[in-house]
């Protein structure tokens, strides 16, 4: 696999392009771009995502509530990892730290061999926009935008007005392919409030994939869905993982769902208990 450490190049490929790559979703990576990252750290070349000794606590008045107490955690490329745990065990907090939405009190997060938790905000924004995809329990679509515009949002954020307008046709085509892939091609111009929960989550998946990220972080993606929709979403994720070699970290409290993953990390009271 080509990675930063292997090539010692200052950039990383957004998607590893291997011969083993499936073509179940043609065109999924046709817009791959490269994003410069800071100088690489020397280890963990096999792992795409590494968390070391993550500590995080929240302050509530005078009370300090420790949520993560030294989480060590690593994900290989192409692996589908489920993080399970009771409510309040710190799963979502861990995911936020991995996604650079929040900074750990102590510990490090490495992505593609590069430490990312201490990068300046602009660089973290760019990593979130280009290298990571995120889906949430409550879908988090923008209510003012149509389904298509929601899927296009990361591209709009990434590019300036003129550049976006120049490439608009390609962006729209790609968004339409992704929506087709998740089975939403008939809902392009609908607002989120006109969609069902399952449809919203599918739109969110399409949005997470628009930038062709290497890693998908999913926070209870089925938590708000009925069983049938939950299974469908999961099978979409599974297919993406298997056929696109997409690395997925999924947080869930549902053990039945976690069983569908390659490996499971159990979090109990802010610490990893079993892998």
């Amino acid at each position: 696999m080509n990675s930063l450490t292997a090539t010692s190049s200052p950039t990383i490929a957004v998607r590893p392009t291997g011969a083993a790559q499936s073509h179940a979703f043609p065109g999924l990576h046709s817009l791959s771009a490269t994003v410069p990252l800071p100088a690489p750290a020397p280890a963990d070349s096999d792992y795409q995502l590494v968390a070391r000794g993550l500590h995080k606590s929240f302050r509530k008045g005078n009370l300090i509530i420790p949520v993560l107490r030294g989480v060590d955690f690593a994900v290989r490329r192409g692996q589908f990892t489920a993080v399970v745990g009771q409510s309040g065990s710190g799963k979502s907090t861990l995911l936020h730290l991995l996604a650079t939405l929040d900074a750990p009190d102590r510990g490090e997060v490495h992505f593609e061999g590069t430490r990312i938790d201490n990068l300046p905000p602009i660089k973290r924004d760019r990593i979130r926009n280009r290298n990571l995809g995120m889906i949430f329990q409550f879908y988090h679509l923008l209510p003012e935008l149509t389904t298509l515009e929601n899927v296009l949002a990361p591209s709009m954020i990434h590019e300036g007005i003129w550049s976006y307008l120049r490439h608009k046709r390609a962006h729209v085509e790609r968004a339409q392919r992704l929506l087709d892939l998740v089975g939403l091609s008939h809902r392009l111009q609908h607002r989120p409030r006109e969609l069902s929960g399952g449809e919203m989550q599918r739109a969110a998946i399409a949005r997470a994939l628009i930038a062709a990220p290497q890693l998908l972080l999913a926070d209870e993606p089925t938590g708000n869905l009925d069983r049938r929709n939950g299974v469908e979403i999961l099978s979409i994720l599974r297919t993406l993982n298997r056929e696109e070699n997409l690395t997925i970290v999924m947080v869930t409290h549902d053990l039945a769902i976690a069983e569908r993953a390659d490996c499971t990390v159990q979090l109990v009271e802010g610490q990893v208990q079993a892998t």
Partner: protein, 517 residues
Amino acid sequence: MYKLLLSWRYLCTRYIALASIISVTLGVATLIIVNAVMAGFTEEANKRLNGIISDIVFESVSMDGFPNPDWHKAEIRKVLGSDLVGVTATVAVPAMLSIPVGHDQHLASPVRLIGVDEQTYAEVGDFGKYLLHPENRQQLSFLLRQDGYAPEREKFPRSGWRYRRARIMYERAYEEQVALERAKLGAVPQQEPAEPAIPADPYGSAVPADPYASHQAAAPTFDPMTQQSTGVILGIAVCSQRQKDETGEVRDFFFCRPGDDVKITIPTAGSPPNFVSDVLTVVDIYESKMSEYDASLAFMPLEALQNLRGMFDAQHNVRYVTSIQIKLKPGADLNAARDRLQSRFPIRQYPYRIQTWRDMQGPLLAAVQLETTILNILLFLIIAVAGFGILATFYMIVVEKTRDVGILKALGAPSRGVMSIFLGYGFSLGLVGSGVGLGLGLLFVHYINEIAAGLERITGRPIFDPTVYYFREIPTIVSLHTVVGVMAGAVAIAVLASVLPARRAARLHPVEALRYE
């Protein structure tokens, strides 16, 4: 791109925010209307003031004037060089005008009588433009015209020679009729009414106290049917009264008109002055639409006034004038020209007042300017108050959109981008608000006279009374400069009001924002 899209979507979906900028809209509309009306008034007033007073007035401090106007004119020409367009000498003197009304009454009004040079006076101002007879507008003349006064005025009474003859014939016939009636009644034929007793002249001057009488005595062959006295041009408000007729229409009622004779009494030159009177024939009427001037000015030929006041030295053939009026090229620097003249004619040596027309009308112009400034400040304060309304509404919108901010940040939108969404929103709100305000304001200005008339009908009270202002319509001027300034100010206030909420949005922590319910 997402900033534009989201600003636009927020603008289209949040009507409460549109409500919050109505005050901006109204503020902008009012500012545009007020400025247009003020500018219209100022411009109109300036045009008329400058039309009446020439650019620079060179005045003697004494009523006796100064000799040698031609030498002064030559000096002025030398000082001002190519900037000079026209120069004329005048005599200005306070006078008492007496207009016969009815058969034995006189309307007396104080006027400022100005002796003007027919040939050059039109060069220094718009005086000619304001005369009623079209030919007098082309070339000023103090001879009574046959007819054809004020062709553009409806129902202007018959004036000129034909009127004069008809009037005199009527008066003669009336007198004959009265005499006949008296004879029929068998009354003792009355003697001609005695000449009024001439008051004793306190100064024992040689000037006859009543030149009217002497005039007739000296020129017994004077026939008013074919001859006129010296011509005089009266301000329209001196010889008329503006009032509403029974239909509510504003009309001028004329006490005298071209063709009538009036009597004028003025002080002579010398100290102490005596008083002389003369009969003058009204040859035209002057309407500048500035009530101040229309109600106080009368014009007659310079030489006749000089003769009447004794402002010439027959021995040395030197004439005296009280002021010289100077017209400069358009765009010339009046103040600089005035300063050059002042240094050529230092006050110690030459007791002259040298002023530009702006200096003379300083208080009026300053008052209008001050009023405009204060109104602008007040109205901008209103827009600023509206700014706080926008701030509050925006704060609410940011709170409502907290989760969206979290989503955008999770998708990699930088804080600056989030901030510019809300700033862009504020900008577009300001633009919409002031744009609608601009439209409303321009529409109002365009139909201002119709609106005033409508309000008059509704309230039954005159909004803009032409009998007071001497403008028949409300003058307005919309200047691009003002419009752009007002719009920019209003948009800036809307953007400023959105800075705080936008900063708050930008500083939201993405995780907390995502969790926000």
